[in-house]
Amino acid sequence: MKTDYEIIVVGGGHAGAEACLASARLGHSTLLITLDKTNISRMSCNPAIGGLAKGHLVAEIDALGGEMAKIADSTGIQFKMLNQSKGPSVWSPRAQSDKIEYSKQMTAVINQQPNLDVLEDCGTDIILENNKIIAINTKNSGNISCKALIITAGTFLNGKIFIGTETQTGGRIGEQAAYGLTESLNSHGIISGRLKTGTPARIEKDSIDFTKTTIQYGDKNPAPFSFQTTDFHPPNVPCYLTHTNTRTHSILERGFDESPLFTGVIKGVGPRYCPSIEDKIVRFKDRTAHHIFLEPEWYNANQYYVNGFSSSLPKDIQLAAIHTIPGLENAEFIIPGYAIEYDFFPSRQIYSTMETKQISGLYLAGQINGTSGYEEAAALGLMAAINASAKIKQIEPLILKRSESYIGVLIDDLITKDPKEPYRMFTSSAEYRLLLRYDTADRRLSEKAFQHGLLPERFYLTVKSKEKLRHTLIEYIQKTNISPTDINPILESKKESLLKSGVILSKILKRPSITFDDISCFLPQNLVDECSKHQNLKNIIEVDIKYEGYIKRNLSQVKSLANNENKKIPSSLDFRKITSITKEAQEKLFKIKPETIGQASRIPGVKPSDITTLLILLSK
């Protein structure tokens, strides 16, 4: 067996999968260590990819040359564009996934990837020399040396599962937990904490009476996640909507004294945006019903995910409560809902490259950063690998700005905000939301991805020619005048007010009810034909023009803040010794040790005057 790799990835979840693929594709001999080869990229929770803000992340992963979007496209069984009634910057794709097929296909991609080996084992100790990673010790295969180690252990480190008063160890139901790594990291000065998350029951399809539920399909004209996907014809498998009632709630209440959540047995903090059903009925007492979505876990699944019913109450209470829900009167468990508590490493300990500040060559990525969600994990895994590679190759790291990507917002927030609960991506976390539309991810990121060697040239060239076409068309629309006689018939058919004198075409397209197709007859036919060949390009151009003014405003905001954003703060600076900043700033800065003035300015409690002082001291 080979015992010497450039990059080793520990953990085969969504972060690990992206990390090991990126590493191998960037030319490094790579090893993926996973507890179970058959569980690579398993979806531990709901059978879905994307969703609000998460869909944006998937598109960015795709533009950077990651794998998630492609696999999600080929294994999705129902696609929906969310938020379509809202403005275009918050449209976000989501898909129900076939979770078995997803894992299978990702595993196949990994197995076929040159440069990449997979080892079934458990990493237990990190081995350092001069504070630099040189190897990892494993349970069964001994020491394996590496230049960079990326830990993507998800919920497995000291994972503990709770169902009522029963507890068991495990990283996921039915899978063993991983031991050793947390303690090893702790012994080298890296701090860990505990977080909690939960998942609802899975029930037998044949025990559901679907006639009592509302059927819900996906979009008739589905849009893929990946800009590389062509010829897209996914199935449209429905979900089913039902709801809890007061009987459900009173049965659940009976189990509260056996709830590990309420009795304080679970110490970790759970996500408030993804509360358990017991949490919901306690906090929102006057709600008499909560939605429950029944989601198939794969194509033709016999197993359904009870979305909205996450719980760690005793099994019998869960089941009794489920039986009060219309359609689920005779539901049978395949797996009950459970909560899981696991170790994470507060992200103030990492640089924006995902490398730990304490140990050179050690990267932490995914749920252990204190995040939740497959998409967040995948993005972080990908970024860790790109930057581990950059470090080995001694090239510039890839640090994405808040103004160019949700991934940049994600990493920056993790580092500067020191979140108290698992971090989830929200569009509201991005201050330049208008610049970060999901359909502009390729425009924003592919240049960088190509330069870092992750995006194949042919895709990069596609993006470039699409961009060129977009520019040409936009310029044409902004320059071409149109006469009232030509345009008024169209305006009339759209019940828009008519023109008395000629205007430029872009003015017409700015009207809310006018679409690209309405004005395409005034554009060069060859360009329009070309445009139709690119996924979604007409719509992209339409939105670019309609929101031009607002986008410009966002851009100028970015510009005005750009001055000191990237000014480096030397790691040797002892913030506690700076007496001319506020006490609070001293403490916060010392704790987080920001790398740049930009980061420092986003730490809650650090005031603009503190930043001024820092700038002055730095110029010394």
């Binding site: 609000l52 945006y273 909560h290 905000k417 001319s580």
Partner: protein
């Protein structure tokens, strides 16, 4: 973060009593700002130039401008020093004019900071500079802590909370549209924003009242020659509680006397004194008078009713809202003359007196008190007194305006939120920054999120 490229403005002499004040500009557009304000094209570096400065086409003050070209200046940037008369009113107008032309208010210690960053100071001074900024910020912080504890602070906090709530409603709709939640109709959000806007307007106006209380009410006595201006001033001085010490911000070329009544300090400015200056041409006198009218909080316009309208017409202020029209000399004039002028001013706030016999002086003083009293905000405890706060509130209100426009224009929520976030940032300059986490907390607290 403040951008280095900005041009900033600040009063650089200590505020308060002083015949001469110096307002300083530093940054790339300093020179073009002063050129615009003085209608002058060029200033020679390091040469003091005597010129006039204008406010809304009116002559505001005579000033001395000295331009220091980068890098030969205190900050190492283009610096302009404007020496003006030390009146609070003039200083504030000059700063306002500079801001209108693209400068912004300097942060505490910002001039020093720039001097330092541009290598104008010895490196060993760095700590000292940082300490200065620290001290100044502490002082500012203390002032805002005092504010926070008071009624006004609590009130502004409430406004901030309202704004956070509105933003939360919109963000809720954007980030949690897949949840089982009733979203708030735009019309309701619009109403809430309008309410908030009105509240802010009230706060902004309270600044003016707060200033009246703090600095006294400027009351020029205007009228044609021989209408009784000096006599009226004397009558006040004999009848009312006169304040002897000179008031902060007294301009040196006016005759000013103060008295107290109803809790207010009235600063009477006798424009008659102007006749004794070198201005011989009448036109020039009128120009002067106009200047006082501009600075006035309340105008006493005095006439001799026995004279024809043509006697006083050219002295009449344009806007008579803040004017009390005094028909003087009732001890000697005829009923018909009085009636005639009363008719002429029938839509205005008039009073009849005799400056000579002091008949009606107390009534007039009461009228003046009442005139100010009605400007009192509904809640007298809620008054802002700092200019910085006023500007923050004005900016907040302006961004709300933009957001309201977007709502009317049927723009999507993320566009509306964009301006509301800017509004929140402006408001937060008074109370401290609000992070997205605070918004999310608010959402999680108030809405049942999570499937």
């Amino acid at each position: 973060m403040a951008s280095q490229a900005n041009t900033i403005v600040a009063l650089s002499t200590a505020p308060g009593f002083g015949a001469i004040a110096v307002v300083r500009l530093t940054g790339p557009i300093s020179l073009s700002i002063i050129s615009t304000l003085t209608n002058k094209k060029a200033f020679k570096p390091r040469l003091a130039t005597f010129t006039k400065i204008f406010y809304k086409t009116n002559h505001l003050d005579d000033i001395i401008v000295t331009y220091f070209k980068a890098p030969e200046s205190y900050t190492g940037e283009d610096v302009v020093e404007i020496s003006c008369h030390g009146s609070q009113y003039i200083i504030e107008r000059i700063i306002e004019l500079c801001i209108n032309e693209g400068a912004r208010n300097a942060e505490p210690g910002e001039f020093t900071k720039r001097a330092f960053l541009n290598g104008k100071m010895d490196l060993s001074q760095a700590e000292g500079v940082a300490d200065i900024i620290h001290t100044q910020t502490q002082a500012a912080h203390l002032a805002s802590t005092n504010l926070l504890d008071g009624h006004t602070g609590i009130f502004i906090k409430k406004c901030q909370k309202q704004l956070i709530d509105i933003i939360s409603l919109l963000e809720l709709e954007l980030d949690f549209s897949d949840q089982e939640i009733d979203f708030t109709p735009k019309s309701k959000i619009e109403n809430q924003l309008v309410d908030l806007q009105n509240t802010l307007q009230m706060l902004i106006q309270s600044f003016n009242y707060g200033k009246l209380v703090k600095e006294g009410i400027r009351v020029p006595i205007i009228g044609p020659p021989n209408s009784g201006k000096s006599s009226l001033l004397n009558a006040f001085l004999q009848e009312e509680r006169v304040i002897v010490s000179p008031t902060a911000g007294t301009t040196r070329d006016s005759i000013e006397e103060s008295f107290r009544r109803g809790g207010y300090q009235f600063r009477l400015i006798d424009t008659a004194g102007l006749r004794q200056t070198t201005d011989s041409v009448e036109q020039k006198g009128i120009e002067r008078t106009n200047k006082y009218i501009q600075q006035a909080d309340l105008i006493l316009f005095i006439i001799d009713p026995s004279k024809p309208v043509s006697d006083f017409q050219k002295y009449l202020p344009n806007n008579l809202d803040d004017t009390i029209i005094i028909l003087n000399k009732i001890d000697i004039i005829s009923e018909s003359q009085l009636n005639n002028k009363q008719k002429y001013f029938k839509n205005f706030n008039t009073i009849t007196i005799s400056a000579k016999t002091h008949n009606g002086i107390h009534r007039l003083a009461d009228k003046m008190v009442n005139h100010i009293k009605v400007k009192r905000p509904k809640n007298e405890n809620i008054i802002i007194t700092r200019k910085r706060h006023k500007y923050s509130l004005i900016n907040t209100k302006q961004s709300l305006e933009h957001a309201l426009f977007s709502i009317k224009d049927n723009q999507p929520s993320e566009i509306i939120v964009m301006d509301l976030r800017i509004a929140l940032d402006s408001l937060s300059e008074i109370l401290g920054k609000v992070y997205n986490d605070d918004i999310l907390n608010n959402i999680f607290k108030n809405f049942c999120i999570g499937k």
